[in-house]
Amino acid sequence: MPRVVVDVMLKPEILDPQGQAILGALPRLGFDGVRAVRQGKRFELDVVDEMTEQTVRRIAETLLANPVIEEFTVHTG
């Protein structure tokens, strides 16, 4: 069964507290060299052969992402 992946990230203008926290923690753990971090969600969907990309996009925009604050990309896993 085909696998599709939907990546959902906060829009760049929305504050991302989790990404900020990771960015803040990295130097304390001795990791330098990271300039920015954003945290989002990754959904792996196992779908039937007939499923069109358009349907996956509809699933993403109605359920998996909230268009007010998030944007998404669809690709095959």
Binding site: L10, E13, L15, P17, Q18, A21, L63, N66, V68, I69
Partner: protein, 226 residues
């Protein structure tokens, strides 16, 4: 006539019984509404209570928005039915696009439960008419994803139109934009807020009885329009 106020129970709703208690204390009849109902049972107003509907695993309120009862709530709200969304209920209202904006993870990334001071910034809604303008309330806030966000244009419009209903005072518990604790739709009938008025109806079990005014407000509004 006793006003009938519906309280929706989604799987994972937690404060539904508390909301019903608050409605009764205000003198109205609490009518339980089940998420699977496609009928609002002739209620005069609806409360969407706090909790973790469907575990809030995807995004708070994201799945509850699609419950059969919500279809009815959305269309009735568009027709003027007063709706109050508390905490998870506020999140459901934003996900349903009855209210603008969204609620994201608290800035400090922790769940926060504390007694919070609020200011009533709009007394023109059916849910706040019993308060004096600028009244200060002490009401519990308890959420993990209560940071209110919206784009700047929306925020400016909300302020310009007097649709910021509540603002956090003396400390913003979750990083909400412009200290916003609650907002309403264009007509003011749909109100959402993160703090929990239903937990502030009796000083025995809450920090004050300051929350009761939201339920008495809607009651007098309903009596007024009847």
């Amino acid at each position: 006539m006793t006003a009938r106020i519906g309280i929706v129970t989604f799987p994972g709703s937690l404060d539904d019984r508390d909301a019903a208690r608050a409605v009764r204390l205000a003198g109205a009849q609490a009518v339980p509404l089940w998420h699977g109902d496609a009928d609002l049972h002739r209620v005069d107003a609806v409360v969407l209570p706090g909790g973790f509907s469907y575990g809030d695993y995807l995004r708070c309120g994201a799945i509850a928005r699609f419950a059969p009862v919500m279809e009815r709530v959305v269309s009735a709200a568009r027709g003027g039915l007063p709706v109050l969304g508390i905490c998870n209920g506020f999140q459901v209202l934003c996900e349903s696009h009855l209210l603008p904006g969204a609620l994201i993870r608290n800035a400090q990334r922790r769940f926060v439960c504390r007694d919070q001071w609020l200011r009533v910034d709009s007394v023109r809604t059916p849910w706040t008419s019993a308060y004096g303008a600028g009244a200060e309330l002490r009401i519990p806030v308890k959420n993990g994803e209560g940071g209110y966000v919206a784009d700047r244009r929306t925020l400016d419009a909300l302020e310009a139109e007097g649709r910021v209903v509540f603002r956090y005072l003396r400390g913003n518990p979750n990083g909400s934009a412009r200290d916003i604790a609650g907002v309403c739709n264009e007509t003011g009938t749909v109100v959402g807020l993160m703090p929990h008025p239903e937990h502030a109806v009796d000083p025995l079990t809450g920090p004050s009885a300051d929350g009761l005014g939201m339920f008495t407000s809607v009651l007098s509004h309903l009596v007024g329009v009847a």
